[in-house]
Amino acid sequence: MPRADTEQREPPAGSAVGALRSLGLGPRLLTSPAALTAFGSDALTAFHQRPEAVVLAETEQEVIDTVRLCHREGIPFVARGSGTSLSGGSVPVAGGIVIALNRLDRVLALDPDARTAVLQPGIINLDVSRAAAPHGLAYAPDPSSQSVCSLGGNVAFNSGGAHCLKHGMTSNHVLGVKAVLPDGEVVHLGSDSVEPIGPDWMGLFCGSEGLFGIALQITVRLIGVAESTRTALAVYETLESAGEAVARIVGAGMLPVAMEIMDALAIEAAEASVKPGYPKGAALLIVELEGEREEVGADAARLDELLRASGATQITSTEDPDERALIWQGRKSAFSAVGWLAPDYIVQDGVVPRTRLSEALARIGRMSAEAGIRVANVFHAGDGNLHPLILFDGSEDGAVVRAEELAADILRLCVELGGSITGEHGVAVEKRAFLSLMFSDDDLALMRRLRHAVDPAALANPGKMLEPAPAPA
């Protein structure tokens, strides 16, 4: 049920398309309605806005030239990597254009000794690890969308993934960014070194949701591939007890590389699509250990003890690469797999303190029952990052609104428990009305001042994160 919900603006004076023709992009300037419609939404399909034009950039210079032209003509623009944002981040703005970066997908340099790589922003996340693999290296952040999402999108959202529990988020792996600011000025933030000196401008750029301009080159650090990996599956009779187990493992001072929970609905969806052959139960906890042989061996014994003590009814583990791959394929395809359960879903990604996971899950369960709306849970439990998938059928009267109300209640719950409205999917359009649950007027005023200082004309991804949300219809 698409809605044009981004900020409505007056179309800019003169035609955006006319001005863009001067860039000489030929067929890489898309203007036909059919072609433009494909760029109207990201993975949060509730929001749709057809752009005026799409620039399929092939070089850095084309991106810079397009941004400069937009600045001169006052045309709003939205950068787009793979369009997998779950919060409306890459939805265009009315009267604006899309600058598509997916053709800028090259590895510019890779230094196996320094363990760094310089990449173009449109490169697919997984392709970075593929390029590093011959050197025994990998790029650590692994969003579930890693086979399709772009590194530029990851930087814009400071994306995470299952293995970020130990390794950290995108921002912890990006060393430097070359960016074009919204007025066309090109800057270098961060450096090639793991050790930053001076204010962390790069850290501010990361996670700024495209509001500070477009990343043209991204320098990342790579990590050595662990020599030993062991993945355990533990089954629980309730979702809350799986949450309790996570708190115990964290509290015991263990540092697994990943800790994920899937509930019965999510397991059912995964079995219907990828068929990972998970053990049956109300909740499944996946705990992965990685590192040196000796360390993993010692930790495995401690972990099994903790899992048994936490009331797991069944514990299995594997070190077989194919079995592991299937476990993770099941987990990472869970979002798309819920398509087997309901025609539509909204996914939230609020965070709660890990010590309150079990409480949060119990309350979400009650809220779901009270609302009469099914909620599947499949999430990064180790860092308290919930992913409730709210299932609905958009063709039913009022179903979207009811689902959105439940989603909003879940976000309020996360903040009430001391957490955050988003762990990794970002605020963008979807959660902009909720930022004030976490931040005061002064906090938000400062963020707006920062944005205004960098982009006074508000051309880069306007309508996202900091704009006041439109009044409810």
Partner: protein, 361 residues
């Protein structure tokens, strides 16, 4: 002149009114925290002290910015936890706010990252005297701009830090250190590169030029012996020196406290790439500076002598495209070489401090 402040309201007022200001904690990094000009007064925030909240089961804490790091480490140690990046100069009294504002991380940052990777929330008074909050208290959070990271390395010049939240890690249950004599800088760098590749996960990987490589292992006590043997085998150099127990602790304490820096030298922290080390090291030796490379040759602690002038180091770093931060000595310079940021830095600084209430670096 120094203003002693012990409340957030007093900090806000001092930033709003009166002379220009520069916050100072314990003063362990005077090149950053002494007022550089006559019209700037020091705001002593060491009275803003104390742990506000520490939940060992959650592995997070919140403390006022003037809290000595040693006090925090003491509280964490009681629960087998720590800040794994070895905040420098903690025995000398370094405060949490000073560690964040200088962006300094010690040898332990090699394994899990530095101060920027552990700070999760910040409250600070910006240039118009308003108290603002960024980030939060949970280990993962993508809401709003990442102000906690921005304040890392801000040198007291983008705002006065008043409160910080951090995530912490379990302290390794046992540690040991091996030191290898490789004979030359080239051989030492080659070893550093090889070890950085894995498969061993090292807690610290330092290089004392010309050829000494010092490696720390941490983890399960039962596995440590076998891992140390593997490490020795990987390096292949004859007879590494094994430092256990107190000697292990003392080795890293000395590195963290910069105990090796000769009197009268100025301490400069530089960010490097391993490839830049040979050229930089030649320049440093020629100037008579002493150096310790850390984080797998990605950072240098430089003890720069009285003479030649610091401008020489500035030029050497700039020539290699590197940047450095001066930590001790008079506040004549803070950043050396080729720091990044350009127009972005200027605009963000202007928004945080529109009336230039803080001195510029």
């Amino acid at each position: 002149m120094t203003l002693l402040l012990d409340s957030i309201e007093a900090v806000a007022e001092a930033v709003r009114e009166g002379p220009r200001v520069l916050p100072v904690g314990a003063g362990t990094k005077p090149a950053l925290s002494s007022p550089p000009a006559g019209d700037v007064v020091a705001l002593d925030v060491s009275g803003l002290r104390g742990i506000v909240e520490y939940d060992p089961a959650e592995l997070t804490f919140t403390a006022l910015a003037g809290t000595p790091v040693a006090e925090i480490e003491g509280a964490l140690a009681q629960h087998g936890q720590h800040l794994p990046f070895d905040p420098p100069l903690r025995a000398a009294g370094a405060t949490l706010g000073g560690v964040v504002a200088s962006g300094t991380s010690g040898p332990g940052a090699f394994r899990h990252g530095g101060v920027r990777d552990f700070v999760i929330g910040v409250r600070f008074v910006e240039g118009t005297g308003r108290l603002v909050t960024g980030g939060g208290k949970v280990v993962k959070n993508a809401a709003g701009f990442d102000l906690p990271k921005l304040m890392v390395g801000s040198m007291g010049r983008l705002g006065v830090l008043v409160q910080l939240s951090f995530k912490v890690f379990p302290r390794p249950r046992a540690t040991t250190t091996l030191a290898f004599e490789l004979g030359s800088l080239e051989a030492a760098l080659e070893t550093v590169a090889r070890l950085g590749h894995g498969p061993l996960e090292l807690d610290a990987l330092d290089l004392e030029p010309p050829g000494r490589v010092v490696v720390r292992l941490g983890g399960d006590p039962g596995a440590l012996g076998a891992r140390a043997e593997r490490l020795a085998g990987l390096v292949g150099a004859a007879g590494p020196e094994r430092l256990d127990g107190d000697r292990d602790a003392a080795t890293w304490q000395a590195a963290t406290e910069l105990a090796w820096v000769p009197d009268g030298c100025r301490v400069v922290r530089a960010g490097l790439t391993p490839r830049s080390v040979p050229a930089l090291d030649a320049a440093l030796r020629a100037a008579g500076a002493r150096t310790r490379y850390s984080l797998g040759a990605n950072a240098a602690w430089i003890a720069w002598p009285d003479d030649p002038p610091l401008a020489r180091l500035d030029a050497a770093l700039a020539g290699l495209g590197l940047a450095g931060m001066v930590l001790t000595g008079p506040p004549d310079r803070q950043l050396l070489g080729a720091p990044r940021g350009g127009a972005f830095a200027a605009r963000i600084r202007g928004a945080l401090d529109p009336d230039a209430r803080f001195p510029e670096a």
